[in-house]
């Protein structure tokens, strides 16, 4: 069993991406991962705080890092925005001593201290690197053979920091999909932006971007899109109806979290993976595979 401190983030804990949090917890024990939720974590601040006040935003993220440091474990989050925000705070504190001393001062006022020793990791990267595809492949009981998938990385898993995967032509999610028995489709826009939180203040702008993504995935022949980010899933899934209305299209493309995908391949029931929370239902494309698990159990 591998142990990690778990940072679900606001949307995956009880918000729009609650299915991400549920499916994460339901696959981890099967993969030999023990996630211990960070006690009393706060929102990382994300882009909105970083675009409002520099110092405050780093301080807010540093509170989480200070709490996580006490656990002595790597801090793992399934959310790409939390991942980038906490990582940016971490690297700024290392890079700018003046900023660090101010943040130390603010944390001290609240009785906290951060030495700078937390490693922030994305859940996908942990599963990919620490568990490994071979190990996952050996646990597959329900190979999703023939199901055609578009791997969607979004932005903040592979950017801005290079290292884990290629920042503009990532491959790791492609490999995971193949190892689960499913089929890949060409998806040239796999690292492009879904509009993120601009979906609220700049709806049309974001719908244009989502339309391009759905178009790229379907013209490749995808039956579903696999995501690693709560915001990407919500934008592509919940706003698909609005895209159809605006562009007079008929997309009906289920958007699954990679955790739901792994869960299905491991033979976990769709309900346990919160697949019923997907707005564009995946029932039809998954029917051949879920029957197999029912008869097996």
């Amino acid at each position: 069993m591998k142990y990690y401190t778990y940072f679900p983030g606001c949307s995956s804990s009880e918000g729009t991406a609650v299915a991400y949090g549920i499916s994460t917890l339901s696959i981890c024990s099967a993969l030999g991962i023990e996630l211990i939720e960070l006690e009393d974590w706060n929102c990382c601040g994300s882009t909105p705080y970083g675009s409002t006040d520099e110092l405050e935003s780093v301080c807010i993220a540093a509170r989480d890092l200070a709490l996580a440091e006490k656990t002595g474990l790597d801090l793992v989050t399934p959310c790409s925005a939390c991942y980038t925000t906490l990582n940016t705070a971490n690297s700024r504190l290392r890079q700018y001593p003046d900023l660090k001393s101010k943040v130390d001062d603010c944390l001290a006022a609240a009785g906290l201290e951060y030495k700078g020793g937390v490693r922030v990791r994305h859940l996908f990267e942990v599963i990919y690197n620490d568990i490994g595809l071979e190990d996952i492949e050996s646990k597959v009981v329900n190979p999703l053979s023939g199901l055609r998938m578009a791997p969607y990385y979004g932005c903040q898993l592979v950017r801005p920091d290079p290292g884990f995967d290629n920042p503009s032509n990532p491959q790791s999610l492609d490999r995971l999909i193949v190892s689960l028995g499913a089929e890949l489709v060409p998806f040239p826009l796999k690292d492009r932006c879904c509009g993120g939180s601009l979906i609220i203040p700049a709806l049309d702008l974001a719908l244009d971007l989502i339309h391009k993504l759905l178009d790229s995935a379907t013209s490749g022949g995808a039956q579903c899109i696999i995501t690693v980010c709560p915001l990407c899933q919500t934008n592509l899934d919940a706003y698909q109806g609005l895209v159809n209305r605006k562009f007079k299209t008929k997309y009906n493309l289920p958007v699954l979290f990679f955790t739901q995908l792994i869960g299905l391949a491991l033979g976990i029931e769709p309900k346990v993976l919160a697949l019923d929370k997907n707005i564009v239902s995946a029932e039809k494309i998954l029917a051949p595979f879920t029957k197999v698990t029912e008869s097996a159990s």
């Binding site: 918000g15 882009t47 006040d53 520099e54 702008l205 929370k277």
Partner: protein
Amino acid sequence: MNTKAYFMIKKEAITGGDDHPETIRELEAMPEVESVEPVSGEYDLVVVADVDAPTRIALVAKEIQAKDWVKDLHVLKLEPAAPNPFLDEVSSIPGGESVHWCVQCGMCSASCPNVHKMDYSPRKIIALVRAGRRYDALTSNTMWVCASCYLCTVRCPKDVKITELMHTLECLSVRHGLRKGGTTPALYRAFVDSIKGNGRVHELGMMMKFFLKTNPLAALKIISVGLQLLSHGRMSIKPTRIKGAEQIKTIVERAHALGGTK
């Protein structure tokens, strides 16, 4: 050594409210003018001009005086000038120093998925910062249209942290009360308020606050989405307040007292 001159300007009464961006732009178009700030009181604008020789101050003053909407001009003070205070301000913020490395190649603008909605492309806004065009840069919508996808950042051949620079410009425009850029600033404010209040973001509460503050009718466009999210159990009705909410308050108050990152 350059000299910095502060002029106080009283405008002629112009109909149609007291916000006249065109007058500010007109002044900022003068090569010597570094910044223009609207003020309230006896005078309407404070203009900071940067001239290479003290004798040129009178010429700049005359040129401003000659504009038909200028009623009165007064020289407040003269002082030795720093070459570009806006550039200094931007580059003093963590991440902002990379603005110096830009070679204006335009890779960022070519990579940006939202460039067509921006007042100035990423390349241009960097040029504005380096030219000291504080008002134009901070009142533009450019940084507020940035979706933080970081494509520009990873493609930049000079390692300019363009996305972080956008965040820096957003922070500065908030700090100086110049934020425009559609309704994105209002969403960010609702988001930050949610964190300051409860320690976590409550999506439903944040969105309701945002639409009430901006345009409640705009919410109609996405009401179908909201209802579907609700019926699928993806919207929590009640906010969660963390135990450390007071701690957050203390941290934020202390950060505020320290006066930013500079």
